[in-house]
């Protein structure tokens, strides 16, 4: 059955909304790596035409939150959160969608997926994208083909998005281990779940933007024309009539 146990090792991402600059580098490097990775290809349809669409595992949105001085612009990368209660897995009629017992990564088996798309309906986060060309569902693999890959240098054994982020806004690690660097980061910064009300218990966490500094008091500007004398004063008086 499409059952899963919540593994003790829970690999995932921690995304810092305070430092993300919205450059889309993570999304582009994800596409670059995964176009040849575990779920390759990431098909593009009409790539040079007016209606280009294609499969991406990571999408970067920008939101505005709050009003006026308290308002913030927040860049918001969105990808599979490798949930602890992944209903994308339980609804799958074929068992093609599964959650790995050893590290909690949620994957799709492209050889048994029938392309019914039910899993994409069951994912609240819009993290699954169907490949029309191949007729199977695709999603973030947490770069399962990088993180254990002994043929690449040790520091590169992280998901492509993490390795490329110029702002260090993406962190990868074991969120099942309370002493891991990512778990400590989440504890320190108050990392949170997206849509906790639906009960999917995402592994990936988001770090909130830090509170902004209070704005310096505004100096009232001197009325520019006051005190003008001589010729300029005369011009100003003439023009202001």
């Amino acid at each position: 059955m499409t059952s899963y146990t919540t593994p003790t090792k829970r690999l995932g991402l921690v995304i810092d909304l305070d430092t993300c600059v919205g450059c889309h580098a993570c999304a582009v490097n994800c596409k670059e790596w995964n176009a040849g990775g575990h779920s390759a290809p990431l098909t593009d349809l009409d790539p040079y035409g007016p209606n280009a669409t294609g499969v991406w595992f990571n999408r970067v949105h920008s939101f505005e939150a709050g009003e006026g001085r308290a308002g913030r612009t927040v860049n918001f990368p969105r990808s599979c959160l490798h949930c602890d209660e992944p209903e994308c897995v339980t609804v799958c009629p074929t068992g093609a969608s599964y959650k790995r017992a050893e590290d909690g990564i949620v994957l799709v088996n492209p050889d048994t997926c029938i392309g019914c798309k039910l899993c994409s309906w069951a994912c609240p986060y819009g993290a699954r994208e169907y490949d029309e060309d191949e007729g199977v569902m695709k999603k973030c693999t947490l770069c399962v083909d990088r993180i254990y890959n002994e043929t690449i240098p040790e520091p590169d054994r992280v998901p492509a998005c993490v390795s490329t982020c110029p702002a260090h806004a993406r962190h990868f690690g074991d969120l099942g281990d309370p002493d891991s660097a990512v778990s400590r980061l989440v504890a320190e910064r108050g990392g949170y779940d997206l849509m906790p009300e639906l009960g999917y218990r995402p592994v990936n966490k988001y770090l909130p933007p830090r509170p902004g500094k209070p704005a310096p008091p505004v100096q009232p500007a001197e009325p520019a024309t006051e005190g003008l004398s001589g010729f300029l004063g005369w011009v100003d008086r003439m023009l202001s009539r």
């Binding site: 059952s3 949105h61 939150a65 709050g66 969105r78 009629p93 997206l194 009300e197």
Partner: protein, 316 residues
Amino acid sequence: MHPAPSVIVFTVASGAGYGLLATLALLAAFGAILPSLWLGLVGFGLALGLITAGLLSSTLHLGHPERAWRAFSQWRSSWLSREGVAAVATYLPAGLLALLFTFFDPGRGTLAVLGLLTAAGAIATVFCTAMIYRSLKPIHAWCNHWTVPGYLALAAATGLALAFAVLGAFGDAAAGPVGIAAIVALAAAWWVKRSYWAFLEVVPGASTPETATGLGRIGKVRLLDPPHTGENFVTKEMGFRIARKHAGRLRVIAVIGGIVLPAAFVVIALATAQPLHSLAGAIAAVLALAGALVERWLFFAEAKHTAMLYYGATRA
């Protein structure tokens, strides 16, 4: 949600087919209709034909229809898988019942056992279909307690309207009670849909852009820039939108065309003799089916998915 024609046709055709099948099976089980060649051929033929056409239509939207057999494997967790298992399991008693009813007369006992098994299978299959939608938490318009009654009531209403048309055409004595049952089922369908639409008006989904991004702590959340300027799978599949005005009109069409008029034609049929009796019965069945198609289209078109909260939707 994108209203895919294959899924709409599937759910309506199989719903009506299972409704008709359950009606005939129960009538046969209790001896209210007697084995006969033509009633068997037309009645059970129509029921099994609608079910089979519906199931085949549902495989049309698969990326890999040739792998459809794999969908029977995950019945322990997946309602889609359970639906497939229930559908196949129902074919066994239903096929046997249809065969014996049409060509042999196996006696009351056998008909009773097969009839009850068939009816139970038919109801279970429609229940599983409804549960596929009922269990999808990201879609508030489906994940609520009106979805299962809606599917069952529509299947009963369309199935009974079809049964009335068939029995009426054969001048069978069971037509009268079945006609009354059809009117009751149509009224029940109307009540369920009305309550469902009222529920959608007053009970909002729990998720908002604030919970989807977690940025509600700062204030109200608005989309500033989408991640891409064109469409993607998510916006095409889950971003379908229908104007309130159009939805309102279609609801009226579904209720008048699919419930009020069919009920009126059943009444006319009950009050008239042949050939008007058969004609009115047939019109009632066709209208009920057409109305169910409109209702099912709306069931998809009006449903909003939480993924669209990331693309500027304010409610899901």
